[in-house]
């Protein structure tokens, strides 16, 4: 047996063990059942990961199936299916023969975070090239093996044949690695045939969801797993001052009481027992905490008053301070977006096990490698002794509590070695402790010439930074603040998040764009779209206000300021969709447009609303979108993303706002943090403009800004009330007495 064969076998076996995390609950691979006793036994990948090599992305298994290794996570966005589609196309393989292995340290490529709508643009495209290269390589091998010219061979479902002879892809490799670089000139079947890509194939994971098969991290069960709950302090800035350990030790069913600095937790064999214990323990703790939050003040004014790190993001060469002042029409406005929660349906969950100096962590984090780095820093183990496996969680829409809960589970597992420790946050923990999408203030000023063209545009935004992700630094993991081991508060995050889409996509001769980054009162990080949500809300509201000032149709006004044909095509498609809609009394239609990040998908949205004059109740009747995401891998998957994005955005814009008193966040459940429900859900129509020969453009976050902009613009059309401070429902209540509706 050759050396390669040996190592190949070792690799497949370890893959099987990997699958065991799941096989406990049904989806594992039966060949490895005997190893179930220790599902987290150390595993070693026998070949170095190299993103340039086929082997890092694709494994051909003995049973003829192909496993695709992706460094991305399934967040409900359907990336698993899209990746399987591109691979199936290039390998000429039925999708049912393809498995997708999600991010796992040491096994899958390090693709950073699953964020920024980039998974199709990056991971899927790498997989596509790896699969095409693998196919060419295998055809080459078959040609030699069978002495048939490559051109006469066909490949189908792992069988290669021609002229009456055939072989299989597994036989050809004979247990060896490809050991071949991905070739950039392997022809793409996606261009030539395009049988699977571009089709609305069903999501691979929906069957598990509708039947209740194990799918989520919440569903993982390990033998002898214990349950943990954290006992939270009354405020974020808090220190544990005393503990009645005697009383606590008498509580029934307590497997262990854990205190690391000011981090307090209970462990029990039974989950409900752990919940009860956590509550009981809270009576025996004393905390020193600060009432540090700026309650009962206008948050908009407060964040404008904070010290800020200011920067000029763009100043056109032609910029003159007089341009706006000298324009015949001038306008200015200030907009506000509050703190918003990710508010995942399922609270964050993490599982960890520590044994023999090694740590295993199961997480729904968006970045297993950066989390591993941060965990190493947190628990003081070398990275190679930490294994982090990604498992789908409840849709998170950004950086929520996933990494924190994994880190907490890890800390607790180290205090309770040998057993799997499962920690799931309670609803109030999720709401009070997750990092929010930051509040932002946006001020715009512009001038228009006599033709109704924008002459100059001055934009100032105030924002906390976004993207305060683990990034290898324990300070960014919330439990680090409480273990009293010298970790500080989270450092600065990603300034680029705040200025995302702060530059209008319109051609404007003179731009003056500044950002002012403050450190706000609440914890914050990345929420779907980051700053693009608030920036597009402000820009697109303002564009409507300008169009109104010069009495130009809002769609025309935008098209006049666009150079990009694809952007114009989206707006024209949107115009077609809403042309024949009859508006009744108290109804309005508004639109919003953006190209996400000014380089990803184009998205134009229209909203049809009705605002009751008496009650100010807002009903969103219907939403339309016209989307150009370049090459579309899965049209229905894309629609689902845009649909979901619009609904979520409407929910944010209509009713969502994080509130706090001087100590802590106060909306701790779905009653105090309501989101859009089924009776309020709009009808939806989406047109996708497919460009099969363009590069695919990330679309998962494209609808966030345009949808809320469309909503407020529609509310204006219906009522004459211009909402500049979100959320809309609250703003309408405030303005109800002041502003007369339009006739």
């Amino acid at each position: 047996m050759g050396k390669n064969q040996q190592s190949r076998r070792a690799f497949i076996q370890s893959l099987g063990v990997l699958a065991l995390g799941f096989s406990m609950s049904g989806t594992g691979c039966s060949r490895f059942k005997k190893e179930q006793a220790d599902p987290s036994a150390p595993k070693i990948r026998t070949r170095e990961l190299d993103m340039e090599e086929i082997d890092s992305w694709l494994v051909i298994r003995e049973d003829g199936r192909v496993t695709i290794m992706t460094g991305k996570m399934e967040l409900g966005q359907g990336i698993t299916t899209a990746i399987a589609q591109v691979a199936a196309e290039e390998l000429h393989m039925n999708m049912s023969l393809i498995d997708v292995h999600l991010a796992e340290t040491g096994y899958t490529p390090d693709e950073g975070y699953t964020a920024g709508s980039r998974s199709i643009e990056t991971s899927a495209m790498s997989v596509r090239r790896a699969a095409a290269s693998a196919r060419e390589y295998l055809l080459e091998m078959a040609s030699q093996e069978l002495s048939i010219p490559k051109i006469a061979l066909t490949i189908e479902d792992g069988q290669i044949g021609g002229q009456g002879k055939s072989t299989t892809i597994y036989t050809l490799l004979n247990g060896k690695y490809f050991e071949t670089k991905i070739s950039s000139d392997a022809p793409l079947y996606a261009n030539a045939e395009r049988k699977i890509v571009g089709q609305s194939v069903a999501r691979m994971d929906i069957n598990s969801m509708v039947t209740g098969k194990s799918h989520f991290i919440h569903d993982l069960r390990f033998p002898a797993m214990v349950h943990a709950r954290i006992v939270r302090p009354p405020a974020q800035a808090a220190k544990l001052t005393s503990v009645d350990t005697q009383a606590i030790s008498k509580l029934p069913g307590l497997a262990k009481f854990i205190r690391v600095g000011s981090l307090v937790a209970v462990i029990a064999e039974d989950e409900y027992q752990a919940i009860k214990l956590a509550k009981a323990v809270s009576y025996f703790l004393a905390w020193d905490y600060q009432k540090a939050l700026p309650a009962n003040r206008s948050l908009m004014q407060y964040i404008r008053s904070l010290p800020a790190d200011s920067k000029m993001d763009k100043k056109s060469e032609a910029w003159s301070d007089h341009t706006i002042a000298n324009s015949p029409v001038r306008h200015r406005a200030a907009y506000f977006k509050p703190y918003i929660m990710h508010a995942a349906n399922g609270p964050s969950c993490g599982i960890a096990r520590y044994a023999d100096g090694r740590l295993w962590v199961w997480t729904h984090s968006q970045g297993v490698y950066p989390l591993r780095g941060a965990l190493a820093d947190l628990v003081g183990l070398a990275e190679e002794h930490i294994h982090v496996k990604g498992v789908p969680g409840s849709g998170c829409y950004g950086h929520n509590g996933a990494d924190d809960v994994a880190a907490e589970a890890a800390l607790l597992a180290m205090e309770f070695p040998g057993r799997h420790v499962r920690l799931q946050w309670m609803r109030e923990e999720e709401n009070a402790w997750e990092p929010y999408g930051t509040a932002m203030v946006l001020e715009v000023e512009a001038g228009l010439d006599s033709q109704g063209r924008i002459t100059g545009w001055k934009y100032d935004l105030w924002s906390d930074d976004h993207g305060v992700r683990p990034g290898g630094d324990a300070d960014n993991l919330m439990p680090a603040w409480y273990i009293e081991k010298g970790h500080g508060k989270a450092k600065s995050g990603f300034r680029g998040g705040a200025i995302r889409n702060s530059e209008p996509y319109y051609s404007i001769p003179q731009l003056h764009l500044q950002s002012h980054i403050f450190r706000g009162p609440l914890r914050r990080s990345s929420l779907r779209g980051l700053g693009a949500y608030a920036n597009v809300f402000a820009i697109e509201s303002f564009m409507d206000e300008l169009a109104d000032k010069v009495s130009i149709d809002p769609i025309d006004f935008r098209i006049r300021h666009l150079n990009d044909e694809r952007a114009i095509a989206c707006l024209k498609q949107l115009a077609k969709q809403i042309k024949s809609i009859k508006k009744q009394n108290q109804q309005g239609i508004g639109i919003g447009f953006a190209r996400y990040k000014n380089q990803a998908a184009y998205c134009a949205v229209a909203a049809h609303v009705r605002v009751d004059q008496q009650t100010n109740k807002v009903e969103v009747i219907k939403l339309w979108a016209a989307v150009d995401a370049g090459e579309v891998i899965n049209p229905d998957g894309l629609k689902n993303q845009i649909e979901g994005g619009m609904v979520q955005s409407i929910s944010w814009g209509l009713m969502e706002e994080v509130n706090f008193d001087d100590t802590q966040v106060t909306n701790l459940n779905w009653d105090s943090y309501p989101i859009l429900r089924f009776q309020e859900a709009p009808a939806i129509h989406i047109d996708v403009i497919d460009h099969p020969h363009e590069v695919p453009l990330g679309a998962g976050e494209a609808a966030q800004g345009p949808a809320t902009a469309a909503l407020v613009n529609a509310v204006y059309q219906a009522t004459g009330i211009r909402v500049r401070q979100l959320p809309v429902i609250k703003a309408l209540q405030h303005s109800a007495l002041r502003v007369k509706p339009l006739a």
Binding site: N345, G346, N669
Partner: protein, 169 residues
């Protein structure tokens, strides 16, 4: 919290485990647990079912829904001791013999009415209960029925369509 409620809390806390016989998905099961344990934990942990999900524990989100004699209720606030002779059904109990999907499951699949899928259990259980009560619900009735459920990914329109398809109307 005052001392009296604290005292009550600790008294409750010490409740002994009691053995119950309940029927879940057509099978009779013996469960020994604190009688106050919400069914959610019994179903997920004692019976290793994945259908019901923890979302809030407060009867506000519907993620945990199960059927009690055909009626959809949140399992997170339904104590074990209240089950009695009732028939409990979870998502797992809907599929028919041979793994054939229940029409509501099938319809959610066909409409691809899921993103992350965390709400799927609750939506399907609520819809099954509705259709059992009324074979021809209108869209308004469907929306009203699903009003107890939270979906953060925004699959509302698809879920409504999936149920509407099964309505005789």
């Amino acid at each position: 919290m005052d001392w009296k409620s604290f005292y009550n809390y600790l008294t409750n806390f010490n409740t002994m485990e009691v053995e119950f016989k309940i029927r879940v998905n057509g099978v009779s099961r013996r469960i020994k647990a604190d009688p106050e344990t919400p069914m959610l934990y019994i179903l997920r942990n004692n019976l290793t079912l994945n259908g019901p999900k923890f979302g809030c524990g407060l009867a506000q989100c519907g993620a945990c829904m199960m059927l009690i004699d055909g009626v959809a209720v949140p399992s997170c606030t339904y104590p074990l001791q209240n089950v009695g002779q009732s028939e409990v059904t979870t998502l797992e109990g809907l599929s028919q013999e041979g793994g054939k999907l229940h029409p509501v499951q099938q319809s959610f699949f066909e409409e691809q009415a899921a993103q992350c899928g965390y709400c799927t259990n609750g939506l399907i259980m609520a819809s099954v209960a509705l259709l059992r009560r009324k074979s021809d619900p209108s869209e308004t009735e469907i929306r009203a029925e699903l009003q107890r459920n939270i979906c953060r990914c925004g699959i509302h329109a698809r879920a409504i369509r999936a149920v509407k398809k099964l309505s005789d109307r």
